[in-house]
């Protein structure tokens, strides 16, 4: 007979847990897989019923995402030169010629600038504020912290109209700076609170040791505290980025052209020449990639970040 252990789960329990996790993962991953698959379908396959699980992959969606096209008749097509590139060829197959690029690339770049920019500032100011709250005797500290938290107590969109008017007055409408400021402001409460938690966990003695060892307060902060807070900074950065990256409502309201991010742009793809679901799906798929890479790069920290405080180092 095998030994019985209180803490070690039995084989059956392990199986059960495994199946549960796989089922849950499938439920949550399903929409994601659906989007990725749709991006590689032809427009006909994308709307076929019953849905096609096995289909002939096509890059038409991606071509349509990045290009504007003009429909040509068969007689006209014969007068054209043979297609030069693979994407020319894909467009020609569906009876169109490429007439220029779309603005997806530019919108995507806006998302990167605004998403990462606001994340940087949220972390930068968040770390400084959290450090000060954690280490210094700040007058009315508790009230200030509550005030910072209270900005999160309503949905940000509740203040959309005042913000819209403010932005118009200040000329921040449809600018990168305006969006970075806005997302930084919304994220700061989260980053201050999260980071304060992490910095509180770092024993004061480390800095004091550095102060005694001949370093200034600021040197002690960035040479001793920051490396210790790396886990917290990384996980806070992920939360901030995900918010700024996915934000839709303010982006619709405050941007329309040069600073428009990808989320309000993607739905507009659908309107260009019929319901082009593969192009929409392609846009969404590409949009997922940066956050995915960022999260994978920082995932070790993320896991420790979520469980912070639970296990003492």
């Amino acid at each position: 007979m095998s030994g019985f252990s209180v803490t070690e789960p039995s084989k059956r329990q392990k199986w059960f847990a495994g199946i549960l996790v796989i089922t849950y993962a499938m439920v949550t991953l399903m929409p994601l897989l659906w989007i990725i698959a749709t991006g590689f379908k032809s427009p006909e396959d994308a709307i076929s019923y019953p849905p096609k699980v096995i289909f002939e992959p096509s890059l038409e969606g991606y071509v349509n995402l990045f290009t504007t096209r003009t429909r040509v008749t068969t007689s006209m097509e014969e007068t054209l030169l043979p297609p030069e590139t693979w994407y020319d060829e894909i467009a020609r197959d569906s009876g169109t010629v490429i007439s220029g690029p779309t603005r997806y690339g530019q919108r995507f770049t806006n998302s990167v600038i605004i998403g990462f920019g606001s994340t940087f500032f949220s972390i930068f100011f968040g770390t400084l504020a959290a450090y000060a709250f954690s280490r210094f005797r700040v007058p009315i500290k508790e009230d200030l912290l509550f005030f910072i938290l209270s900005t999160r107590m309503m949905p940000p969109i509740a203040v959309a109209i005042p913000i819209f008017l403010m932005f118009r007055q200040l000329g921040l409408n449809d600018t990168h700076l305006g969006m970075i400021l806005l997302y930084t402001a919304v994220n700061l409460s989260l980053s201050v609170w999260l980071l304060k938690g992490f910095i509180d966990e770092i024993p004061l003695e480390y800095e004091e040791a550095a102060l005694i060892d001949g370093y200034t307060r600021f040197q002690a902060f960035y040479k001793v505290v920051l490396p210790q807070a790396a886990t917290g900074i990384a996980s806070t950065a992920i939360f901030c980025l995900i918010f700024a990256w996915n934000e839709y409502a303010f982006a619709v309201l405050l941007t329309s052209g040069s600073a428009q991010t990808a989320p309000p742009f993607i739905p507009t793809i659908i309107g260009v020449g019929g319901q082009d679901w593969p192009a929409v799906a392609a846009g969404a798929t590409i949009f997922l990639i940066p956050v995915m890479i960022f999260t994978i790069l920082l995932r070790k920290h993320l896991l420790r970040g979520i469980t912070f405080g639970a296990v003492r180092k």
Partner: protein, 365 residues
């Protein structure tokens, strides 16, 4: 190496006064103990000397220079923390060399210094290991290494042995004392362990409720406590107090306990009211001939000696006597005291009354 002078040092945290007007002098090369129960202000005092807290008022002189409002980094002292505070993202070598890097010392010289320190502490073989997996003793050695590598004017140690287990603490305290004797640097050491303070210190300051109760060499503090608090805090078991109501006049050489006359050192200070007759357990003898007696209520056997607890008309009394002497629980035993060692205290204020014997110790403190 330096002499440290503390003058009227005070520290308030809001409405709470952590340290009230402390004054004492630490001579160059001394191993100086700050002793007291938790919350007595000893750590705050140490941190003020180190520059980790700024005093509310008062002066601190290190080597004749007034430093009380200067930053820690400008005072050239080293600090050893109770929890070691080794930088967890650095390995042993980096930890030890970190203070030298702040001075911009050339790499070759840093290496040489670190090697020298590692040899003194016997940690040469772990220099390239991360600090995470090391034992408490090794961490303690590294923390010491980080302190001595800079060759500072003085060392501050905040219960450096507090985090070690009992067996290892013994070993480390001997090592620390040997290290101090070898380097001859002024060391200020905070502890709540009176035994540790007696063992290691050249001089002791006993603190309570933010004030200095007594300051002197261990022997003097043990033999001639300035207050009942010091008498209780130092020594195990602590000093006995037999309380009685009466009057002590200047020049008196005896007091009366429950109708029995006991000799005391010639008094230089009088007192009226409740008085405590203080005597250390080893200065109590059990003698059947004596009239003054108590009932034996407990015996603790300690090998060569035994602690006998007696119930006397003036309160409980502990006597440390040879374990060869036969004592029976429940029986009465006659009690006498070594008259030269007795200290009388004003039981209300807790302060010792001056006598010819403790005058030398108490009049300058």
């Amino acid at each position: 190496m330096a002499q440290i002078i503390i003058k009227n040092l005070r520290k308030d945290f809001g409405n709470f006064t952590a340290v009230k007007s402390s004054s004492f002098t630490i001579e160059d090369g001394e191993f100086f103990m700050l002793l007291g129960p938790s919350g007595c202000g000893k750590t705050t005092t140490l941190r003020m000397i180190a520059g980790l807290e700024l005093p509310t008022s008062g002066e601190i002189y290190i080597d004749g220079e007034e430093v009380s409002q200067k930053r820690a980094s400008q005072r050239d002292i080293a600090f050893v923390f109770q929890m070691f505070a080794l930088y967890p993202h650095m390995n042993v070598r980096q930890n030890i060399s970190y203070p030298l890097k702040s001075q911009g010392m050339p790499k070759a010289k840093v290496k040489e210094r670190v090697a020298k320190v590692a040899k003194i502490l016997g940690i040469e073989d772990i220099l390239n290991k991360p600090v995470g997996g090391l034992s408490g003793g090794d961490r303690q050695r590294i923390a010491l290494g980080r302190a001595i590598v800079r060759e500072p004017k003085a060392f501050m140690m905040d219960e450096p042995l507090g985090a070690l287990d009992a067996e290892f603490r013994e070993h480390m305290s001997a090592e620390l004392r040997a290290l101090h004797d070898r380097m001859g640097a002024t060391t200020v050491y905070v502890t709540h362990d009176q035994l540790e303070a007696m063992q290691m210190g050249d001089k002791i300051v006993v603190m309570n409720h933010g004030s200095v109760e007594q300051f002197g060499v261990p022997q003097d503090i043990y033999d001639w406590p300035a207050t009942m608090f010091v008498a209780t805090f130092i020594g195990s078991p602590s000093m006995n107090f037999l309380r009685f109501n009466g009057t002590v006049g200047i020049g008196d050489t005896s007091v009366e306990l429950d109708g029995h006359v006991f000799e005391v050192p010639s008094q230089l200070e009088g007192c009226k009211g409740e008085i405590a007759f203080g005597v250390r357990p080893e200065h109590v003898t059990l003698d059947p001939e004596e009239g003054y007696s108590g009932k034996v209520i407990a015996i603790e056997y300690l090998g060569t000696s035994q602690i006998v607890t007696l119930e006397t008309p003036n309160g409980t009394l502990k006597a440390r006597i040879a374990s060869t002497q036969e004592v029976v629980v429940g029986e009465m035993a006659g009690i006498s005291f070594n008259p030269k060692t007795v200290t009388l205290f004003n039981n209300e204020t807790g302060v010792a009354l001056l006598s010819v014997n403790n005058k030398g110790v108490l009049s300058d403190g």
